[in-house]
């Protein structure tokens, strides 16, 4: 009766062999699916995308700082125009780093200190008149960063002459100066952390655990696209989450001409990261795209890129100022939202399923 045991042993071995056999007869285009180098993905992202973008932002913010010095020494139309120009240049680059809320940026709540909008003008004016403030305090998150500068350069008064007049007051000059200095120094801190220590940690944490850099970075990327790009820039002001539209919640509310440009930059940044495109270059390296290709999900790569592209078309159809777009024809805004939303589905459902990333927030047993 030892035969029974042998029969089943044989059965299992056969199964194994059948398993192998069926794989080679399967219409598998490659049969390889060999180990994808996740370290190469993180290295490309760190060295060719994140660090160059932070370096560029730091440069742009240093220029902003210089132009600000000129402006507060001689507040006239020329220096104001120069300051505004360097502000928007830096703001555009900001769209390339906001999604990297990891490492020092996460620890310092960098994003909260750089781009919370709508900015709180009452808090800003109170800070200015008080003359003392803690810019890093959470209470001041909506009184600092790019949106606060937007207000100070465009919104403190009704026209340029009146705006310039405001800067006769030393408190205005100091506040503008302090928040710009703060933005630059924060950015430099984070850049230095990347170049001196964090880069090594980042590229080495390729594991599939809730705390690994790869998983956090991937989750952050999807979160950024969904919550920051789709919701904050388009959905919330267009009234997708409220009974009525909230046009005062657009990015670049006071300058009135940049919200579309900023949104387009952000979408480009997202798509470039997905495709592993080297910052300000046309070469590409390992990325979510090549990872998906390695998993033989060409269908998904094509779909995601085409959804990004159609979202871009919808954004390009909007007026430069989303505030006026919402007030004149909000349908176009919600169409843009719907187009962006489709890519959320592809990233959050399909891409995360393909990677089978351990999700950081779900902690319980499985079946």
């Amino acid at each position: 009766m030892f035969t029974v045991r042998k029969i089943f042993l044989g059965l299992f071995i056969t199964t194994f062999i059948i398993g192998c056999g069926s794989s080679s007869s399967d219409n598998d285009p490659s049969g390889k699916t060999d180990t994808f180098d996740r370290g190469a993905l993180l290295t490309n992202v760190a060295d060719n995308i994140i660090i160059p973008a932070f370096q560029d932002l730091n440069t742009k913010l240093s220029t902003l700082k210089l132009d600000k010095e000129t402006f507060i020494t001689t507040p006239d139309q020329t220096s104001l125009d120069a300051l505004r120009a360097s502000w928007i240049e830096a703001y555009k680059v900001w769209q390339y780093v906001e999604m990297f809320n990891i490492g020092k940026a996460e620890a310092l709540l960098y994003g909260f200190q750089m781009n919370i909008y709508p900015t709180n003008t009452t808090d800003i004016e109170n800070n200015i008149s008080a003359g003392t403030y803690d810019l890093t305090s959470a209470n001041n998150n909506d009184a600092v960063g790019f949106p606060a500068v937007d207000y100070l350069l465009y919104g403190v008064a009704n026209d340029d002459a009146l705006i310039l007049a405001k800067y006769a007051d030393v408190n205005y000059r100091n506040y503008l100066s302090d928040i710009i200095n703060q933005m630059q120094s924060l950015t430099e801190t984070i850049l230095n952390d990347w170049t001196t220590s964090y880069r090594g940690t980042f590229v080495s944490q390729t594991g599939n655990t809730t705390t690994s850099a790869l998983n956090k970075f991937t989750n952050d990327f999807v979160f950024y696209y969904e919550k920051v790009l789709r919701a904050n820039k388009i959905g919330i002001p267009a009234g997708n989450f409220s009974v009525d539209p909230l046009p005062e919640k657009v990015e670049g509310f006071y300058s009135k001409i940049y919200s579309r440009e900023l949104a387009l930059e952000a979408l480009n940044a997202v798509q470039d990261l997905f495709n592993g495109k080297v910052y300000t270059s046309n070469t590409t390296g390992d990325s979510f795209k090549t990872y998906l290709l390695d998993l033989e999900r060409n269908d998904l790569v094509t779909l995601i890129n085409s959804r990004f592209d159609s979202a871009r078309q919808k954004l390009e159809a909007l007026s430069a100022d989303f505030n006026s777009q919402i007030n004149t024809d909000n349908t176009k805004m919600t169409e843009a939202y719907d187009a962006l939303q489709l890519a959320v589905v592809s990233l959050k459902v399909d891409m995360l399923q393909a990677f089978n990333i351990s999700i950081d927030y779900v902690d319980a047993d499985g079946d």
Partner: protein, 454 residues
């Protein structure tokens, strides 16, 4: 050789296996409760969420606020009493009720193995698991050497059903011919030592695991049942469960299954285990002056065996209830739960709810974070009954807030076993008007593919 049911029911066997099973079960359950608390899950799963997903017909079962802790304490103490065989009947009934209540509080946490524990503890209410080596023996001054054979066999049968049905469920084209979802799950374990980089991404390995998993589930009850294959089968049980434990976050389930499997072994092993306990704790029956009876006699044997027969008939039928539903089971999940479909599908979804005013057509989207925990949102996103219940909750919520003519629509996308996501729910259906029932849900969009199988 004619099988006579009465002869079978009158057959007795050594009581030790049931006693060992009782002890192991009680200890593991007590540990499971403590572990649940230790991980902070009572707080995060039952106390923090403002809303809980209920099982149809059990909407009245809700977490009890801070008293939920008390419920877990009761459950843990009952488990410990079961282990000791102290006031066994009361203990196992309390355990069954408290454990089942916990599982019914929120179906977000539904796991097949929790259902298994509920069924097993229910079955154990009717078994004389305290007949031997229990505190009850001391209290009643008597102990039994033998128990009816069918009592031990009923536990084996329940375990056998779990395995066999789990195997049947794997006989489908995704599992066997696409190696799905293992093809998604295994490569993501690339960071395991040794096997991570060498095996986990191999196509043949995905197929080998799928096929052997299916055969294992189907064959293991029989391999355990026959004495000659038992050792081999137990080795397989060990290998299989240790392996799944390494690969997947399945908590205590592997240990529960491994230890439960011991009941298939002959009484000799269990007698040895008990004498081991006796030696360690220096227990001698003589000091309690127990009168030793030969056979345990059921007071109400006929109704009990009749009732348990019915219980098992139901167990055999319920997992097949999905045939009453017209659409793809893995897609609609109508009849998916309570049928041992374990680790069978990889499904992810995203469901965005739209609150509309029927009169004006104005609408806005809901941020699910405002109402659900991330875990609840994840589970809700791809399960129609969750979506419906949540839609009603949102409808009630916004109506109470003063919104008029509330309609609730959902835009839902789901990806199943690595297929591209597709629309899941008809977005033109006002879910606030739809009622939960056992009828097929007409508002689930058809699955645009075919999965063949049981």
């Amino acid at each position: 050789m004619k099988f006579n049911i009465n002869t079978y029911l009158n057959k007795n066997t050594n009581a030790a296996p049931l006693a060992v099973f009782r002890i192991a079960f009680g200890i593991m359950m007590c540990f499971g409760m403590i572990r649940f608390w230790y991980h902070g899950w009572i707080e995060t799963l039952y106390i923090q969420p403002g809303f809980h997903f209920s099982f149809y017909g059990f909407e009245w079962v809700k977490p009890l606020g801070n008293y939920t802790y008390l419920l877990f304490i009761i459950c843990a103490i009952a488990a410990l009493m079961v282990a000791f065989g102290f006031k066994y009947r009361l203990a196992i009934i309390t355990f069954f009720l408290s454990f089942t209540y916990i599982e019914l509080m929120d179906k977000t946490t539904y796991l097949n193995h929790y259902y298994f524990i509920s069924l097993l503890s229910f079955l154990m209410i009717f078994l004389p698991a305290n007949a031997y080596f229990s505190v009850d023996n001391v209290i009643r001054k008597k102990t039994y050497e033998n128990v009816p054979k069918w009592t031990i066999d009923s536990v084996k049968l329940l375990l056998g059903i779990v395995y066999f049905y789990a195997g049947l469920a794997k006989i489908n084209s995704d599992w066997l011919f696409k190696a799905m979802p293992l093809k998604i799950w295994l490569p993501s374990k690339y960071d395991l030592p040794l096997i991570g980089e060498t095996l986990m991404h191999q196509n043949w390995f995905h197929f080998a695991m799928s096929w052997s998993g299916m055969l294992y589930d189907l064959a293991i009850p029989f391999l355990l049942f026959y004495k000659r294959t038992r050792i081999f089968a137990f080795t397989l049980v060990l290998v299989f469960h240790v392996f799944t434990r390494i690969l997947f976050p399945i908590g205590m389930f592997p240990f529960i299954m491994i230890v439960s499997t011991l009941i298939f072994f002959d009484a000799n092993l269990h007698i040895k285990i008990i004498s081991f306990f006796k030696r360690i704790f220096k227990i001698r029956a003589s000091i309690f002056s127990l009168s030793i009876k030969s056979d345990y006699n059921y007071q109400f044997r006929k109704p009990v065996t009749g009732f348990l027969a019915l219980f098992f008939v139901i167990q055999l039928i319920v997992p097949f209830r999905n045939i009453l539903y017209p659409n793809e089971l893995f897609w609609t999940e109508e009849g998916f739960r309570f049928s041992w479909r374990v680790m069978l599908i990889e499904k992810m979804g995203m469901s965005t709810f739209k609150i509309a005013n029927a009169e004006t057509g104005d609408f806005f989207y809901v941020d699910n974070d405002d109402f659900l925990t991330p875990f609840q949102e994840k589970q809700m996103s791809f399960q129609p009954d969750f979506i419906l219940e949540y839609a009603h909750y949102l409808g009630d919520h916004f109506t109470a807030q003063g919104h008029k003519n509330v309609q609730v629509f959902v835009e839902s996308y789901v990806a199943l076993n690595g297929r591209l996501s597709q629309p899941f729910i008809d977005k033109n259906i006002d879910l606030y008007r739809e009622k939960e029932s056992f009828k097929p849900k007409h508002w689930i969009l058809p699955f645009k593919d075919e999965i063949k199988g049981l």
